[in-house]
Subunit: 139 residues, 2 copies
DNA sequence: ATGAGAATGAGAATCATTCCTAGATTAGCA
DNA sequence: TGCTAATCTAGGAATGATTCTCATTCTCAT
């Protein structure tokens, strides 16, 4: 999985250094977007470096930022790496888990989005569905 | 429209002061969630007061915060005032516009959400759909 | 091995947001 | 209407997340 990322970065003249590799590997290992402090725990890397690595990887299109209802910024691998998916967000603690729709569900969602966007005459570039629930700890 | 809000606050023992009224009226006048600085322009009120009013109105369930893909916090009137709706977000500047689905579309979305959530065994508390596009200024 | 360019670490700077306090406003009541 | 107690506001200080800066270190092509 690290292979296409390495090529992607190389193609853009961006080095795939140890620090960046560590960030990508940490993000590969988890099941949803993680905040800088959550990542910091796993990585023992200075925050400034973490932020910088995330910014570089973000510009390169390898990671994307996600902002849940609690306002915290969390990062995850881009969809071309991890696949298109949606998010399950806890209303209490803000923790986020990935949720993939089935191909059939995704198609229905697409239709819905296209239909609604067409009504106001905009071209859809992307869509994101967030399902809010309450995780077990927050009940 | 201001009437039910006044009663809602009164019922909770929260005063509907001039400052809070101004915030609510500003939010009634616009077509999507607005950030504190966007509101500050319209209101000539110190930021600390704006934040405080928004916090009070937020606790009271009159306004809710929204966090778009650019990470900026934007505020809007709660759904019981403005009605359930979704958001159209510009990938360039982050500006957000409200977008209401038709009742029929909303129902299809509900179904989809319930179905997907059921698969991972969570109880849905709410859902949010975001359609990303590119506004005219950002083309 | 060497040099040029890029990346890193550590801390300072910035920005949004929250907190604090003294003074102003408000509602309820005489 | 005028008084009182409670609540609210303005303004600035404090906080916390994020970004910037710069001196040092690393990488890669020679």
């Amino acid at each position: 999985m690290t292979e296409p990322i390495a090529r992607h970065l190389e193609a853009r003249g961006i080095r795939y250094t140890r620090a960046r590799r560590a960030v990508v590997e940490a993000l590969e290992a988890v099941d949803g977007p993680k905040s800088v402090s959550e990542l910091g725990d796993r990585l023992a890397v200075p925050q400034s470096s973490l932020y910088r690595s995330l910014a570089v990887l973000g510009d390169a299109g390898v990671v994307v930022a996600h902002h849940g209802p609690d306002g915290t910024t969390r990062f995850e691998l881009a969809e071309w790496i991890r696949g298109h998916h949606h998010h399950l967000v806890c209303a209490g603690c803000g923790a986020v888990r990935d949720l993939a729709l089935t191909a059939e569900e995704e198609e229905r969602l697409q239709e819905l989005v296209t239909e609604a966007a067409g009504r106001v005459d905009v071209e859809v570039e992307d869509h994101a569905l967030e399902i809010v629930h309450r995780c077990e700890e927050c009940r």
